[in-house]
Amino acid sequence: MNKNTLTIDGKPVPFKDGDTIMEAAIRAGIYIPHLCHNPELIPQGNCRLCEVKINGRNSSACTFPAAEGQTVLNNTKELNDNRRTIIQMLFVEGNHLCPGCEKSGNCKLQAIAYSLNMLDNRFPLFYPKREIDSSHPDILLDRNRCIFCEMCVRASHEVDGKDVFAISGRGMNNHLIVNSSSGLLKDSGMEATDKAAHVCPVGSIIVKRHGFETPIGQRIYDKKPIGEVSMAAGMAQEEKNHG
């Protein structure tokens, strides 16, 4: 084996110095399911969906540094069962009503649920009371669908330089808050062109007046399962970066 090689499910995968396991996997065209990872943002590892077994220990692939000779297990029954449980937890924790959601078909939570063959909620629904903020002229914030991936928090901080969002509270009382005097999105520095307006994997942050532009049935994950879409996007990004 060459230097800087690890294996994922027995397949040799080369990596570059400084890579995480996720980065190496994407480059090699191996799909590790994930919700809170976006190659343009600093990884955080909060959704735990990308948990893999690295030399026998569970860790999140998006944060764990790749190292020579690592044996990584990814597509196993045990790990996929765990992933399905995480998705079920996210579904019961919030109020996710797919048929009425504009994000349906473009929603990563929904797409992963399909790809992991999730057939029921398994757990009792929490039905939490969460606030909707429709104050902003161009952006809708529906906290019912928030999964605390902190993608908007990171995008606003790292890319937009605005710190519009933050997670407040603790444990089950976690909630997304907005940086403005009223606590409303309209009084924040948020704009529809911000990165933070376009990274939400679910339907929590939606740009207004674009609803149903693409009919249901013809959306991203209506056509292809999320694993294929994600890998194609990863490859395209890789090509863009390194020609």
């Binding site: 990884p43 590892g45 735990r48 995480i86 009792p124 999964i147 933050a166 940086n179």
Partner: protein, 609 residues
């Protein structure tokens, strides 16, 4: 409250007092809470402007730490400990009594703003409970009579400093001292030895002693120090003390329910702890140290500050310590504000940087990238106390005690059903049975070793040893006799974890609440056999998939009791294969009200299938 310039000035005064430093955010908010009995929105704005941070960062903290609040609390804010041992001593009944006498419900503030009540996690007084806090100060040995007096003082609006001293009295309660408690060091003796022999030599002594971290995880202390001293700047060299920025933190966030041994060390052996930190600073080359003191230990702060001042006077702290050029070290006390998760070292560091206590992604570990991204040693209070003793008496002295993999002694906090709760120190390797005998426990049903995150031990296993190779423990030892219901214990612990989960990762955030609901369902008699199967797999999942130690141990109470006390569960199950998770009849209540019916036909009897 109307916000005036006076109030604005008070806020600014507090911010300036803390040097307008972002890292001091939690300390600033503690002071604001003390002054206003809440953190008003206007204060959040003022602080964020002054510190030049987003206001969301201020709000985040207020809503994360349980000793801070957005809602106005009473002039007297009284919390009773919700720890299982306090329950056993009647804390819930006392709360009912207190609440009825004061005319205010737990979790609420009385309309006149005089008083508010609530529950809090373990306050570190399990050996002299039922315990609580009034405006952050300990209340010990509560009784009905004492509640009567407290109510009277509250109604008379008597300032706290005029309350009888005995209400706040907390004793060390040392029952059996051992290696450390019997051999306290003279102030400065260990440090003098270290300066005389050189820090390389002291490091060798620590190495020889085999000392492992006393917080419970048991990482070898000398290795931790070595990694920190070497740091990421130079992988090849040996300790390069003094060249780079390093920090030493003493973890005094003793939050594991049933643990209170750090309380005694901080109360009576503070010099020895600070001396251990100073020795560590000499070895790794740190100039700044911190004692992260849990919010509930506020009462100890003034005397700890006094010890630090005394050490400065004696040149045991400050610049050119003991006349040695370049050996400069300072220690600052940083107060927590009610978050169990901050006992995890990386969450503790986050907290010290003025953030929510969310455990960091590891690697990198704090010894490589800790406080402000610099290599940082975080050790337990007891570890630093042991360091001083080892520096003075030698590594070999220490290593002759204990077992092969667990050298030295362990200070144990004993509480629950026994004659003599309190502090016991034993060489590692002591059996559960020996401790039970010493503390006068009879008819013991179970022992919880290491707190809710540790293990539950039944009668078959009292021969097991306290040691890293068998039962690792941070020092909590809770005894339950045969009058206890195992499920009450499980319920209490499971609620504790759901309350303390930081919410960062999905498995712990959602899982601990799901688990809590499952346990409640069993306790309320609504569960069937199938629920146990589901609960077991949920518990295993939380343990395997969570991000940090809190989540990974949150299911231990359920898993441990399922394997050791399966009958406790089976007795509560219904003889059906499925039972809805909610009360059908109760769910119809709204419909009954709306239709103004309450006849037999408007009720449903709940039957499983």
């Amino acid at each position: 409250m109307t916000w005036s310039e006076t109030e604005q000035e008070k806020i600014l005064g507090i911010v300036y007092k803390h040097g307008s430093r972002q890292t001091q955010l939690l300390q600033i908010l503690r002071d604001v809470q003390e002054e206003f009995h809440c953190v008003p929105t206007e204060a959040m704005v003022g602080i964020s402007n002054e510190l030049k941070i987003p206001r969301t960062q201020v709000q985040e903290l207020v809503e994360f730490y349980s000793l801070l609040s957005v809602e106005q609390q009473g002039h007297f804010h009284i919390l009773l400990s919700d720890s299982i041992t306090d329950h056993m001593l009647g804390s819930r009944r006392l709360m009912e009594y207190l609440s009825a006498k004061l005319g205010v419900e737990p979790g609420e503030t009385r309309a006149d703003g005089r008083v508010s009540l609530g529950f809090t996690s373990c306050t570190g007084l399990c050996d002299q409970g039922p315990a609580g806090l009034v405006n952050g100060h300990w209340l010990s040995r509560l009784t009905g009579d004492r509640i009567d007096s407290i109510v009277e003082l509250v109604e008379r609006n008597m300032p706290l400093e005029n309350w009888p001293e005995e209400f706040f009295k907390v004793e060390d309660n040392i029952q059996i001292p051992g290696l450390l408690l019997e051999n306290p060091i003279e102030v400065g003796a260990a440090l003098r030895q270290a300066v005389r022999n050189g820090f390389d030599e002291i490091f060798e002594e620590i190495n020889r002693s085999g000392l492992r971290g006393r917080g419970g995880a048991g990482f070898e202390t000398s290795w931790k120090w070595r990694y920190c001293a070497e740091g990421p700047e130079d992988y090849n060299g040996l300790p390069i003390a003094g060249l780079h920025e390093r920090y030493v933190i003493c973890n005094a966030d003793e939050g594991e329910p049933g643990t209170f041994k750090d309380r005694i060390l901080l109360n009576s052996h503070a010099h020895q702890i600070f001396e251990g930190m100073t020795i560590c600073a000499g070895v790794v080359g740190a100039k700044q140290g911190f004692l992260y003191l849990r919010g509930e230990y506020l009462r100890l702060r003034p005397q700890l500050e006094a010890v630090l001042a005394d050490r400065r006077r004696k040149n045991l702290l400050g610049e050119s310590i003991l006349g040695r050029q370049g050996f400069d070290f300072e220690i600052e006390i940083y107060m927590g504000a009610g978050a169990y998760v901050c006992g995890e070292e990386s969450a503790l560091i986050e907290s010290m940087e003025g953030k929510r206590g969310v455990p960091r992604i590891r690697p990198p570990y704090p010894v490589v990238s800790g406080y402000l991204g610099k290599p940082t040693v975080v050790n337990n209070v007891e570890t630093f106390a042991a360091v001083s003793a080892i520096a003075l008496y030698g590594g070999a002295w220490f290593a002759t005690h204990g077992t092969e993999k667990s050298k030295g002694s362990k200070i144990i906090s004993v509480s629950g059903n026994c004659e003599r709760p309190g502090i016991y120190e034993y060489d590692f390797g002591v059996t559960v049975a020996e401790i039970l005998l010493d503390c006068g426990a009879e008819n013991t049903l179970a022992v919880q070793v290491g707190g809710p995150s540790g293990s539950i031990i039944s009668g078959r296993e009292y021969h097991r040893q306290l040691a890293f190779e068998d039962l690792a423990t941070g020092g909590s030892f809770m005894v339950f006799d045969k009058s206890c219901d195992i499920l009450d214990i499980v319920r209490n612990f499971t609620h504790f974890f759901a309350h303390e989960s930081c919410g960062f990762c999905t498995p712990c955030r959602v899982g601990t609440t799901l688990l809590k609901n499952e346990v409640d369902k069993i306790c309320d008699g609504h569960s069937a056999a199938l629920d146990l199967v589901g609960m077991t797999s949920l518990a295993r999942f939380i343990k395997a998939a969570s991000h940090c130690g809190l989540g990974q141990s949150a299911a231990n109470p359920v898993l441990g009791t399922l394997s050791h006390f399966p009958d406790a569960y089976k007795d509560r199950l219904k003889a059906v294969s499925f039972e809805p998770g909610f009360d059908l009849d109760e769910s119809l209540e709204t419909a009954r009200r709306m239709s103004m019916r309450d006849d037999a036909m408007a009720h449903l009897e709940q039957e499983g299938i």
